[in-house]
């Protein structure tokens, strides 16, 4: 027995020594000529807070995949300032408190040049004081007008790299009234902040035509059975339904509207209504849904189309909005670092304000003022379970001197 153990020990030691020796030789080959330039090749770090766990973890899955693509593209092209980039991800947990904690964890690393916020205006507004206090260029994925005003007026370190909901919601309502000719609307929306905000913007969009929604039906996040909500809409006798919520609720809502007999009623929805996940879950029921979306994988934008194709090849899924957004956010931060010629946070922040006509995968960006930097979106209709782009929505950037 002792002999067997001794042999085993010798084999293990020999294996261990071989294994230890292998990477030393390999790394020696790579690093020896660059030992002087080791610091120059040190990656430039960019932080990302996204939702990896909890209710909104779909966002984190998309964002993490998008990051893999853009990080590889930039590094394959030689990186920036001769250095590769490295994206450090922290879990924002899907809550504003989680977002702030994740942000502060990233901010503790002095090598992080800029931080990308999560896909929620609420989270973005929650981290704003920390961004201002710690003076870190921070990009926000949220699209609320409140966030826009905060970026424009209160926090020079926070950039809303997204078209403001005001533009998209107004555009969708214009289409519904002017092109669709509908006059009697029901609005059904989630009570969480961004969906409630979108519902308000839809109402304001209708008010421009002197139309008030016949019925407004709010529901709490996580609602699964919409029978009582849809029953109220049926009673109201409307021409069209407007919805604002996240993907899973949007898919259930669309299915239940159709299943409860409203098979032909047009549905106009927020971003999530033409999301690949909503389309897949809702199946045939989603056909005929209209949406003013920041992103769909069928975008006519060449850079966006290339990203959608690559994403599909790599992950065998359609590219979601959060993936495309973080792709653009990293590109813009890298562009700012390039323009600044340094990784100094203040210089990068100043350089960001010089970007005014940047073509991203999602849209064109104008960062001369910090809010509403995404210049447009897409008006889409779902046909045969594909989001068909009807028109491109653009808006002029309003810059107050």
């Amino acid at each position: 027995m002792k002999r067997i153990l001794a042999i085993l020990l010798i084999v293990c030691m020999a294996f261990g020594m071989t294994a230890c020796g292998q990477p030393a030789a390999t790394s020696g080959e790579k690093t020896a000529p660059a030992s002087g330039a080791e610091s120059a090749a040190k990656p430039i770090k960019i932080g990302l807070t996204t939702v990896l766990t909890g209710d909104r973890s779909l966002e984190g899955e998309y964002a993490s995949n998008g990051i893999k693509i853009i990080q590889q593209e930039i590094n394959d092209a030689g990186g920036v300032l001769g250095r590769p980039i490295e994206i450090v991800i922290q879990d924002a947990l899907g809550t504003d408190v989680g977002a702030v904690n994740a942000y502060r964890k990233l901010a503790d690393d002095s090598e992080i040049v800029a931080i990308i916020g999560s896909d929620s205006s609420n989270d973005n507004m929650a981290v704003s004081p920390a961004a201002l206090e710690l003076k870190i260029p921070t990009t926000a994925q949220g699209s609320s007008p409140k966030l826009r005003d905060m970026c424009n007026n209160d926090n020079p370190w926070l950039f809303q790299l997204r078209a403001c909901d005001e533009t998209l919601c107004a555009s969708l309502m214009r289409y519904a009234v002017e092109t669709g000719g509908y006059k009697k609307f029901a609005i059904i929306h989630d009570t969480e902040t961004s969906s409630a905000d979108q519902a308000r913007l839809f109402t304001e969009g209708l008010a421009k035509y002197g139309i008030e929604p016949v019925v407004v039906v709010p529901f709490t996040t996580g609602t699964k059975d919409f029978t009582s909500h849809i029953t109220q809409i049926q009673k109201a006798g409307v021409d069209a339904i407007i919805g604002a919520c996240f993907q899973a609720e949007a898919a259930i809502l669309i299915q239940q509207i159709r299943a409860l007999g409203m098979t032909d009623i047009p549905i106009f929805g927020s971003n999530a209504f033409a999301d690949p996940v909503t389309i897949r879950l809702a199946g045939d029921a989603v056909n005929g849904v209209y949406c003013a979306s920041a992103w769909v994988p069928t975008t006519p934008n060449p850079k966006g189309a290339a990203l959608a194709k690559k994403y599909k090849e790599l992950f065998n899924e359609d590219c979601g909005k959060a993936a495309a957004q973080v792709y653009d956010h990293v590109s813009i931060i890298v562009e700012a670092i390039k323009r600044a010629g340094t990784t100094d946070r203040a210089a990068v922040r100043d350089a960001m304000n010089t970007i005014d006509n940047y073509e991203g995968a999602v849209t064109r960006y104008d960062l001369r003022t910090n809010g509403d930097c995404g210049r447009g979106g897409l008006l889409v209709k779902v046909e045969n379970q594909v989001a068909v782009v009807l028109d491109q929505i653009t808006s002029e950037k309003i810059i107050k001197k």
């Binding site: 529901f219 996580g222 699964k224 059975d225 029978t227 259930i252 299915q255 299943a259 879950l281």
Partner: protein, 289 residues
């Protein structure tokens, strides 16, 4: 309209009833509320999805196999989350169950991803009743299947030897062991039955409400409300409580407020606690205490 609401309320109510029954069985067996019960619903749904959509088995077979597999999940849950702490204070077991709930939730996310998924319906299509009430057949299937399962569980507990063993262990573990009942096996069976009951609910609801890894939390909370309303420790109470919660949700949403559906349930809960703290069928548990 009322018929539409009734069918919707009863069908979601029976699923809350299934979850609540599962919770009650565990509560009676070990004297502690299982706060991971909602995750059994989610996990059962995902197992059904794996069998139906990934392995392409028919939905009926997938439901049966998924619920049987959930039985095994229940036993593993018992061995890892309850059994090592069986002599500890109740609060330790509750914390352990909460930890297991996170493990199940995040484990499901790692295995099946964050993108919501669905399974085939047991019955497709819908019918129109009383002129305008549209009723989806899947809702009817949920009611029928759940009622059958509840009846079978009742028969198992009341009329079979295994049921008597489980009930005896639930009443007094020490006495049960003295008369030769293998307590670990009996408790294991109870956890298996509990996970089976709740898991099948996940597979039945999946085509209507889709599956995601956090779906169990709200359903678990509503099932807990059902238990309090029906009476702690009462199997019949769990079923009736589940139905009441489902109906309050459906009719309260339509006639009072869609925003405050959950609030209505908790108002009802408070009223029950104020005027009948033992719940509708709660007499027995009070005597036991």
């Amino acid at each position: 309209m009322n018929l539409q609401l009734l069918v919707s309320g009863v069908s979601t109510g029976v699923v809350y009833g299934l979850i609540a029954m599962g919770m009650v069985l565990i509560f009676r067996a070990v004297g502690v509320m299982n706060f991971a019960q909602g995750e059994f619903l989610m996990f059962g749904g995902y197992l059904c999805y794996t069998l139906n959509r990934l392995l392409h088995l028919p939905i009926g077979l997938s439901l049966i196999l998924a619920s049987l597999l959930m039985g095994a999940v229940g036993v593993i849950f018992m061995r890892t989350s309850y059994w090592p702490l069986r002599n500890a204070q109740a609060r330790a077991i509750i914390v352990s169950a909460m930890g297991a709930s996170i493990v199940l939730k995040e484990g499901a996310r790692l295995i099946w991803g964050s993108i919501p998924v669905t399974v085939e319906r047991v019955v497709n299509g819908s019918t129109t009743l009383a002129g305008s009430a549209v009723v989806q057949w899947q809702y009817v299937a949920i009611i029928v299947i759940s009622a059958m399962i509840m009846a079978l569980v009742y028969l198992l507990l009341e009329k079979t030897f295994i049921g008597h063993i489980m009930q005896a262990t639930a009443q007094d573990q020490y006495m049960a062991s003295l008369v030769g009942i293998p307590v670990i096996m009996s408790i294991g069976l109870t956890f298996a039955l509990s996970a089976f009951l709740t898991g099948i609910g996940g597979g039945l609801l999946a085509p209507l409400f889709f599956l995601n890894n956090t779906m169990g939390a709200t359903a678990g909370a509503k099932a807990f409300a059902a238990i309090v309303i029906g009476g702690f420790g009462s199997v019949q109470g769990a079923i009736i409580g589940g139905l009441i919660v489902g109906l309050v949700e459906a009719f309260g949403g339509a006639y009072i407020s869609t925003t405050y559906q959950l609030v209505l349930i908790y108002v009802m809960l408070v009223l029950v606690l104020m005027f009948r703290p033992q719940g509708i069928f709660g007499g027995k548990i009070q005597e036991k205490a």
